[in-house]
């Protein structure tokens, strides 16, 4: 057993962290305050090869492993969890194509993302179906030489900027999971109405919107796999994406801890630095312990992915543990900063707002526990 990263992985991490520290952290507060989409930063990250880590080498990608992906994800989330949500949404949207697409579809859809800066959205959640993803109402009907998509999607990351949507719908709601299918949709297709940007508590720089599909015609050759393959593609996508989402919580937690340690050494109360008070030491020790454990889970869940071993249970452990830990750690960071922590002048209140979303999206912490229990008890 070897717990160390390879020299190359350490270099990847250094590079991504350098980008996070120089290009993301100095702007995170401003983008958060104004809810501004980080187009320039996103593009710069793409130019450096930090985006779309999931695209295989044969389609023009760098050929990163899942472990490489979580190393990059953690570093970028260290810079800003909100911006990283936009970045990560590309992987989330492209993964179903990597997993369920034909060779021709991969060339047609993935390769352009390696040649120019493009943005993608994963469209699964609906106004009435979040955790209950199997209850999808969006309809994909056979229109002869094309598919016809009707329905509504909600909380779609990057929706207002996307060049590509992966849309989940059902060919027949009576078939339940077996009817779910996935199609790749050009956002400029007539009949697509993109809603207004949601005004969110955190991740304010990431663009989140509803989308309405009114008789949207989609080419037949844009369905991933066969009609009805969508559920398996979506579940397999989640096995790959949960380590990544967990890595984002890890990055946010690490940033909260680094800030806390720094502040605790600098600020004096009762004549000694905060770090000399046991009450503060306990909070910091807890942070270190949780981050270390979360990182091991994140790496293991990604490692299983790379070995081709089913990681559903461990990926849920990683996602729930990392995001719950991130919430606790960012909350404690605000506590350590005291009154200053509650002020927007200091960086930790944003981390606390950002942390909350990671417990919700990509399967809530409660859904993760359902998945774990199902895997354990089956």
């Amino acid at each position: 057993m070897d717990f160390s990263l390879s020299a190359e992985q350490r270099e990847i991490r250094e590079l991504a962290l350098k980008f996070a520290k120089n290009e993301m952290i100095p702007h995170a507060q401003e983008y958060d305050e104004h809810g501004k989409f980080p187009t320039e930063i996103f593009k710069k990250a793409w130019e450096l090869g930090l985006i779309n880590a999931c695209i295989p080498a044969e389609y023009g990608g760098a050929g990163f492993s899942a472990i490489d992906g979580v190393i990059i994800g953690e570093a970028l989330a260290y810079g800003c969890m909100g911006m990283n949500t936009s970045f990560m949404a590309n992987d989330l949207a492209l993964l179903p194509i990597v997993i369920g697409g034909s060779d021709e579809q991969k060339k047609r859809f993935l390769t352009p993302f390696t040649q120019e800066f493009k943005i993608a959205s994963f469209c699964l959640t609906e106004p009435g179906n979040g955790s209950d993803a199997g209850g999808i109402k969006t309809q994909i009907k056979d229109g002869g030489d094309h598919w016809i998509v009707n329905g509504e999607k909600m909380w779609i990351t990057n929706a207002g900027y996307a060049d590509l949507f992966v849309v989940y719908g059902t060919i027949d709601p009576n078939l339940k999971h077996k009817g779910i299918s996935a199609v790749v949709v050009d956002p400029k297709t007539p009949g697509i109405e993109i809603g207004k940007k949601e005004d969110k508590m955190g991740h304010r720089s990431s663009d989140t919107r509803g989308i309405r599909f009114n008789n949207v015609k989609v080419p037949k050759e844009n369905m991933l796999g066969k009609p009805g393959d969508g559920w398996n593609i979506a579940m397999s996508t989640l096995d790959h994406s949960r380590p990544l989402v967990a890595s984002s919580a890890l990055g946010g937690a690490q940033r909260a801890m680094d800030l806390s340690v720094h502040y605790a050494k600098e600020r004096n109360q009762f004549g000694v630095p905060l770090a000399k008070h046991q009450a503060i030491q306990f909070m910091i020790a807890e942070m270190g312990m949780k981050i270390e454990a979360a990182r091991l889970l994140v790496y293991k869940s990604a490692w299983l992915c790379d070995q081709g071993i089913r990681n559903t249970e461990i990926a849920s452990y990683a996602k729930a543990f990392a995001s719950d830990s991130c919430m606790q750690i960012t909350t404690d960071a605000v506590q350590i900063y005291g009154g200053y922590g509650y002020s927007k002048e200091y960086p930790v209140e944003k981390l606390m707002r950002d942390a909350k979303l990671i417990q919700i999206y990509e399967g809530t912490s409660q859904i993760q526990r359902l998945v774990m229990a199902r895997e354990i008890l089956k």
Binding site: A7, E8, R10, L15, L48, G49, L50
Partner: protein, 262 residues
């Protein structure tokens, strides 16, 4: 055209420095090492010259111990063509480092046209390796440059002097240039660049390979100590107009007797 860039690997600026128990050097075990920030300007300048002269070859050279994350790798990932590492301790003096750099440059068999370096390393702040190296090679050198232009076989460089004024030099090549902040904006190494960097040639030499021995040492470090801790600052309340005269008297008195600055 052969361009050489001398880089040093230094402790990250956030490192908490601890002297070793015997005071002979600093503890290096837990240090995070980065490329000396001024050297990034030198690497970037070399790559800008290469962009304008595609036939140019850029070699990055470093003297020091093997590191967990090698600074020559990001330099190669940024676009340098090859690298050479002279393995040595991290507490060499400037003279030995310059001699080792000269030896490594000569080992490549390439005749240098432009040698670039950062104006100083941010760890020991000696500010002399580029000048010593130039002297050893019998080349002209300009330090603290903030502007660069190729001008045929010569280079035109701007050098910062006291008071923010600039001196402009036209120097024939080969030349050694020590770069300052403001010269350019260093690019980031890209991930694809990082992958390519692995395949680029990297030569490794020992100090004796490049003709340096302990006898070359001109400076021997006798003791590393942390500076004394700064006492907390004093505050004087001068909001009450009637007491201002007293307060000023106190401050002047303390500046004389305690701080001894007037």
């Amino acid at each position: 055209m052969n361009i050489f860039v001398c880089v040093k690997q230094v402790p990250d600026t956030e490192t908490k420095i601890t002297p070793t128990g015997d005071g002979s050097f600093i503890e290096t075990a837990s240090i995070k090492w980065i490329m000396n920030p001024y050297d990034e300007f030198a690497v970037e300048q070399a790559l800008l010259i290469k962009q304008a002269n595609p036939a140019a070859n850029v070699t990055v050279v470093r003297v020091g111990s093997k590191k967990d994350t090698e600074a020559l790798i990001p330099a190669l990932a940024m676009g340098a063509d090859e690298a050479a590492l002279v393995e040595a301790g991290d507490n060499l003096d400037s003279y030995s480092i310059a001699k080792a750099l000269k030896g490594a440059i000569e080992k490549t068999g390439k005749k240098p046209d432009i040698i670039l370096a950062g104006k100083q390393a941010i760890d020991d702040d000696c500010l002399q390796v580029p000048q010593i190296l130039a002297e050893m090679l019998g080349l002209p050198s300009v330090s603290v440059i903030v502007g660069f232009e190729m001008n045929g076989a010569a280079v035109k460089v701007k050098r910062e002097v006291e008071g923010g004024a600039l001196e402009v030099y036209e120097v024939s090549t080969p030349v050694v240039l020590a770069c300052n902040k403001g010269l350019n904006t260093p690019r980031y190494p890209s991930l694809p660049g990082l992958m390519k960097a692995k395949k680029k040639p990297m030569a490794t030499y020992s100090l004796s390979d490049v003709g340096v021995s302990e006898a070359d040492r001109r400076v021997k470090y006798s003791g590393f100590r942390l500076p004394p801790e700064k006492p907390a600052g004093k505050k004087f309340d001068a909001t009450d107009a009637a007491k201002q005269k007293d307060v000023v008297g106190q401050v002047v008195g303390l500046l004389r007797t305690e701080a001894k600055v007037i």
